[in-house]
Symmetry: C2
Subunit: 189 residues, 2 copies
């Protein structure tokens, strides 16, 4: 009797192996996740809360640069300041657009790791980032010329110019991680 006794203790069924099941789909690298559904994006990538935060920060600081610069009445007399206003408008619109895309992706819980979308995001980020950095540097050059080299701050709105330039730089610093992450995910697919 002892030799033929079967196991009577309840044995837990092993949990189903989702990875193995998904492997059976045979989709290569993307096999563990069905196509189009949220994958494990790095924080800051489009379609993640951190990515949305970066976009909102870009748009906010670009709008701040625009508002502060436009609040001075003599910015159109300097080409670089007009260029900063134009670049800030473009940066603000682009970041707001991508923020809405991110909000949509978060609401419907879809991944934005689409090859064409990432390519468009990367090129747009690269262009707006270059323009914003150029505008910020041009404004910084003129602000330093007015404030430190010529010392004519008394008759100019140095504080506003410096604040707008700083806001544009901060907007660019918020844009750089988005651009690098997009380029990385475009190249590593």
């Amino acid at each position: 009797m002892r030799a033929s006794r079967p196991a009577v203790h309840p044995v837990e069924a092993p949990p189903p192996a989702p990875a193995a099941a998904a492997q059976a789909l045979g989709e290569g690298e993307g096999a563990a996740h069905p196509r189009g559904v949220r994958m494990k994006d790095p924080p800051g990538a489009p379609g993640t809360p951190a990515g949305l935060g970066l976009r909102l920060a870009q748009a906010f600081f670009a709008a701040a640069a625009l508002a502060v610069m436009a609040s001075t009445n003599d910015f159109p007399s300097v080409s670089a300041f007009s260029y900063l206003v134009a670049a800030a408008i473009l940066q603000c619109l682009w970041s707001l657009l991508l923020a809405f895309v991110d909000i949509y992706a978060l609401l419907v819980k879809r991944s934005l790791r689409n090859a064409r979308a990432v390519c468009i995001f990367t090129i747009g980020d690269g262009i707006t980032g270059t323009l914003t950095l150029g505008a910020a540097c041009a404004s910084a050059g003129i602000t330093v010329l007015i404030g430190n080299d010529l010392n004519i701050c008394a008759e100019n709105h140095c504080a506003s110019f410096e604040t707008a330039t700083a806001m544009a730089f901060i907007s660019w610093f918020a844009l750089a991680p988005s651009c690098i992450l997009n380029f990385w995910s475009m190249a590593s697919r």
Copy 2:
């Protein structure tokens, strides 16, 4: 006699199949090429003649910007022009250093697709590129201020400032492909 006659025509020995031999090493993706030896780099990547040409172009235009700006006697009075000189020196040194690395790689026919080397190249390119673009934009802002907004070119070296700024921009345009290619090959490994 006819039946047993061996082949008397000289038969060329088939060329050895290097790919098959290398496959036997079983090194996965890099199996077709022994490690460290020249792989099929994209044109413009480090260690290729196009990459060397880009580096030399960067160094040449940075040196031209430096020489033209330093030939004016009043550039130290404007911070942005001093910054352009500093950025051009850094750009020139960095590009010359990488040009020597490229020449070495071409002479000994070694590939530079080493993970750590590509990472260092990318970070260095990114930093020098940002500094050069910033310096060029700052100089451009001040050059436009002097020439178009204030119309005081008569008492300034506007032509020299404009030439130096243009050279710095061209140097940055030559740097951008190197940086993008390095980042791409870093991300896609």
